[in-house]
Symmetry: C2
Subunit: 427 residues, 2 copies
C-alpha cells in the first residue's frame, strides 16, 4: 500500500498526534518481499489451520445458517450472541474459571479486546505495566492511546514480581492504569508465570489497586507440566482476554473478554463505537463447531503437532546454534525466545537471513523503546519439523558468520559486554 510508488500526501499535516506513536513495521515490508518458494518462516504466529477439518467447518457453517436463519446474517447484539457466550462459559470452566454468560463480551479476536481496553482506560501519558519483552500487537494497540509503557523484566518463571512491586513503588501515587500480562507460554518469550508468582502478582496489584489484564491465547496449548490456574480463577477482578484463534480458527476473528460488569459496560460503549457489533455469521459457526465434540480431538492433534515442532526446534537449536546463544524452553504455545550477545543487531541481520531463506522477528518489536535488538522470536507453530531443522541450520550459518568477529575479540580478551535483558536459559 503506497510502498511501491512515491505519493504526495495532501493532508500530511492533518493527522492526529496519536499516529506519531503508532509504529510502521519495516519488518512487515521485508516479509512481504520474502516470497521465495522455499522460504522457512519462524516469524508469524499462525496456527496450523490445515489440521482443522474443512468438513467440520462446512457442516458447522451450513447448520448454523440453516438453523439460526436470518439471525446469522443480521446485526447482532454488541455483547455477542448468548450461544457463543455460553461456549465461552464452558471453555472457561474447563480451565478453572466460573463465570456466567453476562460476564462475557465477544470481540473481533483478542486484538480488539486489547484495543478497546486501552481505549477505555488510557489517557495520554498514563502508565501501563507489561512484561519485557511483550506481545507486539498489544504495544501497537496501546500506543495509539499514547501511554508510557513500562516493561518489567521476565525470567524463565515469567514476570519478575519483585521488580513489579519495585516499579509500582517507584511510580508513586499516580500509579499505573493497568498491568498487562500473558501468563501462559508468553508471546514472545515462551515462558510461563509460576503459580506462586501468580499469587504474588495479584497481591501486589491489589495492594496498589491496579487492574490486571490477563491475555491468554495459548493456555489450552500445553505440551507438558501441570495446568496453572488463570489469574481470573484466583481473583474475580482480573480482566481476562481469550480467543478462538488458536483453538479453532483466526479467520473467524472471534475473541472474548471476561471482566467486572462496570468495566464491561464501558467496554460495550467502546465496542459499539468501533464496529456496532461482532459478526453473527462467525458466531453461529463457532457455536455449532463447539457444540459438537470433534473440536476436542482436533485441538489435541494440534497440540501434539505443536509439541513435535517445539521439540524439533529445541533439538535443532542445540545442534546448530552457536555457544553464545541462549534460549527459552516453552512448555506450550508457539514461541521460543533467543538471546544473542549484546553487540549482535538481529534487526540488521534479518535481511541476510531472508536471503538465506529463513525469517524471524527481531526482538526490538517486543519492546516499546528499541531494546531487544540482540534477541529474536522464533515461532515453531507453522513449519514442519524437517523445515524447522533446516531453517535453524540456515539461521545458525548467518549467525556464525557474524559471530566470527566476536570470537576474535574474545580470543584477544576484548569481549564486548553482553546484556541479560530476558530470561534466557543457559544451554
Amino acid at each position: 500500500m503506497g510502498t511501491a510508488r512515491i505519493v504526495f500526501d495532501r493532508w500530511a499535516g492533518r493527522y492526529a498526534g496519536r499516529m506519531a506513536d503508532v509504529r510502521s513495521s519495516a519488518v512487515r515490508d521485508l516479509f512481504a518481499a520474502a516470497t521465495r518458494p522455499d522460504m522457512i518462516s519462524f516469524s508469524g504466529g499462525m496456527p496450523e489451520i490445515s489440521r482443522v477439518p474443512a468438513d467440520d467447518v462446512v457442516s458447522a457453517a451450513t447448520a448454523a445458517i440453516r438453523d439460526a436463519g436470518t439471525e446469522a446474517l443480521q446485526y447482532g447484539s454488541s455483547e455477542g450472541r448468548e450461544g457463543v457466550r455460553r461456549v465461552v462459559v464452558e471453555l472457561m470452566a474447563e480451565v478453572g474459571v466460573r463465570i456466567k454468560p453476562d460476564d462475557v463480551v465477544i470481540t473481533a479476536g483478542a486484538q480488539q479486546a486489547l484495543d478497546l481496553l486501552a481505549k477505555i482506560f488510557l489517557d495520554p501519558g498514563d502508565t501501563v505495566i507489561c512484561e519485557g519483552p511483550t506481545y507486539l500487537g498489544a504495544l501497537q494497540a496501546f500506543s495509539a492511546y499514547q501511554p508510557d509503557v513500562v516493561c518489567v523484566p521476565a525470567d524463565e518463571h515469567g514476570m519478575r514480581t519483585d521488580l513489579l512491586a519495585a516499579e509500582l513503588e517507584r511510580l508513586g501515587p499516580r500509579g499505573a492504569k493497568f498491568i498487562y500480562t500473558i501468563p501462559n507460554f508468553q508471546n514472545p518469550a515462551g515462558v510461563t508465570l509460576t503459580p506462586a508468582r501468580r499469587r504474588e502478582l495479584l497481591e501486589i496489584a491489589s495492594a496498589y489497586d491496579v487492574p490486571v489484564i490477563e491475555d491468554d491465547p495459548y493456555g489450552r496449548l500445553r505440551f507438558e507440566g501441570g495446568h496453572c490456574l488463570p489469574l481470573r480463577a484466583l481473583d474475580d477482578d482480573v480482566i481476562y482476554v481469550g480467543t478462538f484463534s488458536k483453538i479453532f480458527a483466526p479467520g473467524l476473528r472471534l475473541g472474548w473478554i471476561v471482566a467486572p460488569h462496570p468495566v464491561l459496560g464501558r467496554f460495550l460503549l467502546a465496542k459499539q463505537a468501533a464496529d456496532l457489533c461482532g459478526s453473527a455469521y462467525a458466531q453461529v459457526t463457532a457455536e455449532r463447531y463447539f457444540g459438537g465434540t470433534r473440536w476436542r480431538r482436533t485441538l489435541q492433534e494440534l497440540t501434539r503437532t505443536y509439541a513435535g515442532r517445539r521439540d524439533a526446534m529445541l533439538d535443532a537449536l542445540e545442534e546448530h546454534f552457536p555457544p553464545e546463544a541462549k534460549w527459552t524452553a516453552p512448555e506450550g504455545g508457539f514461541f521460543v525466545w533467543v538471546e544473542m550477545p549484546a553487540f549482535l543487531d538481529l534487526k540488521s541481520i534479518l535481511a541476510e537471513a531472508v536471503e538465506h531463506g529463513v525469517t524471524y522477528v527481531p526482538g526490538d518489536a517486543f519492546y516499546p523503546d528499541g531494546r531487544g535488538r540482540n534477541c529474536m522470536r522464533l515461532a515453531f507453530c507453522f513449519a514442519e519439523p524437517d523445515a524447522i531443522r533446516e531453517g535453524i541450520r540456515r539461521l545458525a550459518e548467518v549467525l556464525d558468520d557474524r559471530l566470527e568477529l566476536y570470537r576474535a575479540f574474545a580470543a584477544a580478551g576484548a569481549l564486548p559486554g553482553a546484556s541479560d535483558t530476558t530470561g534466557g536459559r543457559d544451554r
Copy 2:
C-alpha cells in the same frame, strides 16, 4: 449488562477522559425492554435480511471454505483479500467510480471505517463538520476522540452548502479536520444531496483544503429518480466509505474504504492495532456471493420491498399524522425524518409510544448537542406495509394526545414558536 443490578465500580476513577463523551443510550435500554410480541419497530435500521436466500449464502459459504481452503480460516492481510477488494472495484465501477484493488481496504462494516478515520485524524478539540442531523453511529465513533462536532443544517436537497462555506469561514485558519457527509438518502433525514450541491461541496472543501468523508451505505437502494454520481466519482481525494450490510448482509460485518494511498497507509496501521485483520471467512463468503449473478435479483427485490414500505409509510403519515407534523420524502434508503412543533419532546414521549406498541428514535440521538428533541427518525425498512400502517396509526394517537394542549394554545392565539431545524417537507 449491569443495568439490572447495582454494582460497585472499584475502578470508577481510572477510566480514560474520552469515555466521559461517549454517550450511553437510554433509548437502547428502552428498546431492550420493548419485547411485547406485537411491537412495531420504526427504530432500527435493519435490512430485511429474510429476502436474502439462505441457500445462496450456504452455497457461497460452502464453496468458499472448500475452494479457499485454509485461507478462509487463517489470519489474512490487513487490507483484506484481493478477491473481495476486486468485488468492491466492480461495485464502485457500477456507480461511476473507477478505482483499483489497492485503493481499497476492507473493514468490519462501515462503522469500523468511521472509527478508524476518526482515530487517524482527530485530536481532542479538533473540529468535524457533518450534517445536522447526522448518523448517530458516526457521532458515537467520533466522540471517543473528543472533537468539536459542528452540524451544518440540511434541507430537502441535503447539506446546505451555503451554510457550509459560512461555517468554514467562521472557523478561520484552524479549520476543520474533515467534512463527514451522507449524500444519498441520508441517515436519519432521508434526503439526497443534489448534483449541483455535490459540486459546490467539493469546491468549498477544496478551497478550504478540508478532507471529505463520503458515507454511502444506501446508494444502491434507489426507488426512483436518476442516479447521482458519488462525490468520489467527482474528486479522487474524497474518502469513500461503503458497506456490504445493505446489499448483502450485516452479519458478515464487511465494509470498505476507498482513499488516497497516504490516508490508507495510516488507516492500515490503525486497523492492525484495532483487530490485526478482518475476517477471511466472511470475505471469502462475500467473494463467492458476488461472484454469481443471483445477488442482483436479490438486491432488486430488496429495493422493491423497501420502496413498497416507504410508500406505505408516506401514505399512512398523510392519512394519520396531525397537521402540525412535517416529514421528508426519501427517494431511497431506510428512513423518514419527522419534525413536530418545537415544544413537543419526542424523547419523553417515546415511553408512551412503546406502551402503545410502536418504537422510533428521538431526533436528539442524531445531534451532538441535545437538539432535535422535537424530531424523530422513522425506519420503514424492517416492518411489513400492514404493520407500518398500524404503527403509524398508533404513533399518531400518541402524538394527537400530546397535541391537544398545543391546539388549545393555538386557538387562544398563544402558539409557542416552532423551530425549523431540518429539511422537513410541508405536507
